[in-house]
């Protein structure tokens, strides 16, 4: 439709079949592709050969080709796997456990929230939201400062809140909608985590959960939730309402619709979002630095630790980076099968 309007632009942007190109065009195309492939792959190659270099090879300046420029050695691999041994394995397992569970929880909870934001209209009064937050603060203050038992202060808080809802609350007309809620959720991510890292640290310290898996799983899940809600909302919105209505009339319950219709159709979105969140958790450094010391230490910390007292140990870092990449590649391979397009073809229209 707009093809006619920007005909020339479209001709430029529309990919031509590479087989129908002139030889010169082919050469340029493949040349550009090869160049970009080199840009992308060279760092990986560099990490790989650095892991096989002796310290002397690194310090002598750039050496590019193994067996010709230098003799590869497995000394760094031996150090990481045998001398460090458990000190490598533990962070590795920690990273896997923490990234896996935080991703599953974030995607699980976040996609439910996203679905609700797409399919239900929420119209809470603005004043009620503010009142809830104020009363929550009072409850916390009563529990900590006044030393009231927590169940008592929660009961008082709930009573206050419902009293407000049924009396004063009705006077306020301004309401917030789904878009406001979504913006509020996303705004949690606008704040850089570093701002909240100290309170988070103190919180887990008080709960005596520092340096545990739980602390990191809960924190990563919370940090990633806004991203999941934001991404999944678009995926759910693309599923036609007709399908759900049709299933309702066919006699399915809400839960049957969610599991039998919505989830299978949202699979590509779930897979893409999971992969994205998994990589974020896998690479996270700052929060891990604060919340873990030894037992729950993750791989990024171990990599950073190679740049300690003796200066950067590039060869050890390279080994760690290589083994860190492997699980992500495996997960990408597994999840990629689900990231198929056109799953909705045939649902509506002829």
């Amino acid at each position: 439709m707009n093809g006619k309007r920007n005909g020339s632009l479209r001709r430029l942007l529309e990919p031509k079949d590479v087989n129908s190109m002139s030889p010169a065009g082919k050469m340029v195309t493949y040349g550009l592709l090869a160049f970009w492939a080199a840009v992308v792959l060279f760092p990986l190659y560099w990490v790989l050969i650095t892991s096989l270099k002796l310290p002397i090879h690194v310090n002598d300046g750039p050496l590019y080709i193994p067996f010709i420029d230098f003799m590869p050695s497995l000394h760094a691999w031996e150090y990481i796997f045998f001398e460090l041994g458990n000190d490598t394995l533990r962070p590795y397992l920690n990273s896997i456990v923490i990234a896996f569970f935080s991703t599953v929880l974030a995607v699980g909870i976040g996609s439910m929230a996203a679905y609700a934001l797409v399919r239900f209209q929420y119209r809470p009064r603005f004043a009620s939201v503010i009142a809830f937050l104020l009363i929550l603060a009072v409850v916390v203050w009563m529990t900590i400062a006044v030393d009231l038992h927590w169940s008592l202060s929660v009961a008082i808080g709930l009573a206050l809140f419902f009293l407000f809802l049924n009396t004063l609350g009705k006077r306020f007309q301004t309401r917030v909608g789904n878009d406001d809620i979504l913006f509020w959720i996303i705004s949690q991510r606008i704040l850089p985590p570093v701002v909240a890292v100290l309170p988070i640290y103190v919180m887990f310290q008080q709960m005596r959960l520092l340096d545990t898996h739980i602390a990191l799983i809960v924190t990563y899940m919370t940090v990633n939730l806004p991203i999941v809600v934001w991404l999944m909302r678009d995926f759910f919105a693309s599923i036609p309402m007709d399908l759900e209505e049709s299933a309702q009339i066919d006699g399915a319950s809400r839960f049957q619709i969610l599991l039998g219709i919505i989830m299978p159709l949202a699979k590509p979105g779930l897979a893409a979002t999971s992969l994205f969140v998994l990589i974020l958790s896998w690479n996270e450094y700052l929060l891990a630095l604060f919340l873990s010391t030894a037992d729950a230490q993750t791989m990024p910390l171990l990599v950073a630790a190679q740049n300690a007292t003796r200066g950067p140990q590039w060869w050890y870092m390279s080994v760690l980076i290589v083994i860190m990449i492997v699980p992500v590649i495996v997960m990408a391979g597994i999840l990629q099968r689900f990231i198929a397009r056109g799953l909705l073809i045939g649902a509506v229209k002829g």
Binding site: P240, D242, L243, E245, S246, A247, Q248, I249, D250, G251, A252, S253, Q256, G260, I261, P264, L265, G342, L343, L344, I345, G346, A347, V348, K349, G350
Partner: protein, 365 residues
């Protein structure tokens, strides 16, 4: 099952889309809700299905009040305009879905699926996915999914509008045959008056949230209740000429058309169907004009005559042969003309003319 809608109102915010809908649909009847887009017919259907809550009024299915009942407990089946097939399920799984969610045993289910598929000629496509089907095949899957569990009502929301003309004609007769065979009460929404005329036992013509006339297709066509119904039903549409009624004759541009017994009315409209207008030689007939265009459709010629400041469409024999621009006369078969009040659009009747009372007659077919 019978269906009754009593005094149904529906508003979206301040926008009232259904205003006092009353319908009684008899057991096994095929009722068509006909109207232009935005007339409230789809909203009415969605309220029967339970997808939309009523603002006020009652809905009864088989005598049981279902006004506040969730769609899944109403045991009605619906065919959507978009078909709404589940894209990740095969044809067999799509058809069997209503049985699967109601926990029908597996063999019983596959037997029912096979039998229903046979009825709509899908038995060879059971393992395909919707994306591998043509539009007509998808439509039949949607139909089979509605039929598989013997619902109390069939609800159809423009099910044929996404098909090409030829297929639409075929599916129309298929649909009529299946409905008669199954004997399930059906409410069918369409804006296509041909579909309404051909399928319906009774048609409810809707406009602006109000039923304008509820009657058999024949009486909708032969005895329209008002200007809207007269103009909406029929293809090519009815011809309208504005004029005045004085002393038992309809006057426009000097010519008079007798309408004995009608009260004087300074602004009246006469409506004549294209088949009731004859093009005659110049100087004859009621009005004089010139041929504006000719369309030979094969079995007849549609003649457009510019006369009385408007265009009159006449359905003439296929052998009709006059050049465009020729001076002609227009003759009206006076028995078959309808008079309306130009302001209200209401039909103007005489005691002798009105015959039987029209419109809003319920129940009895």
């Amino acid at each position: 099952m019978t269906l009754a809608m009593r005094n149904i109102y529906k508003s979206f915010g301040s926008n009232e889309v259904v205003k006092g809908l009353n319908l009684e649909v008899a057991e096994g009847e095929f009722l068509v809700l006909l109207g232009p887009s935005g007339c409230g017919k789809t909203t009415a259907l969605r309220m029967i299905a339970g997808l939309e809550a009523v603002t006020s009024g009652d809905i009864l299915i088989g005598g049981e009040d279902v006004t506040g009942v969730l769609p899944k407990y109403r045991n009605v089946a619906m065919v959507f305009q978009s078909y709404a097939l589940y894209p990740h399920m095969t044809v067999a799984e799509n058809i069997g879905y209503p049985l699967k969610v109601s926990k029908v045993p597996r063999d019983e289910m596959s037997e029912a699926v096979r039998e229903t598929a046979r009825k709509v000629h899908l038995e060879d496509l059971l393992d395909r996915f919707p994306r591998q089907l043509s539009g007509g095949q998808r439509q039949r899957v949607a139909l089979a999914r509605a039929m598989v569990r013997r619902p109390r009502l069939f609800l159809m929301d423009e099910p044929l509008s996404n098909l090409d003309a030829k297929l639409r004609g075929y599916m129309r007769s298929e649909l009529k045959h299946l409905q008669a065979e199954l004997g399930v009460t059906t409410v069918y929404v369409t804006h296509d008056q041909i579909e309404a005329m051909t399928l319906a036992d009774r048609v409810a013509v809707m406009e602006a949230g109000i039923v304008q006339q509820l009657d058999t297709p024949r009486r909708i066509y032969d005895d329209p209740a008002n200007l809207f119904v007269a103009g909406f039903v029929g293809s090519p549409p009815m011809n309208f000429i504005t004029g005045a009624i004085t002393g038992g004759a309809f006057e426009c541009g000097g010519a008079g058309l007798p309408c004995p017994g009608l009260a004087d009315n300074p602004r009246a409209v006469v409506g004549v169907r294209p088949e009731d207008i004859r093009v005659t030689g110049a100087g004859e007939g009621w009005l004089q004009g010139a041929i504006y265009s000719l369309e030979l459709t094969g079995d007849e010629t549609i003649v457009n005559v510019a006369a009385a400041g408007t265009h009159l469409i006449s359905r003439m024999d296929k052998d009709f042969d006059m050049p465009m621009g020729a001076e002609v006369g227009v003759e009206i078969l006076g028995e078959r003309s309808y008079f309306f009040d130009a302001e209200s659009g209401e039909r103007l009747r005489t005691a002798s003319h009105s015959g039987q009372p029209i419109a809003f007659s319920d129940g009895s077919r």
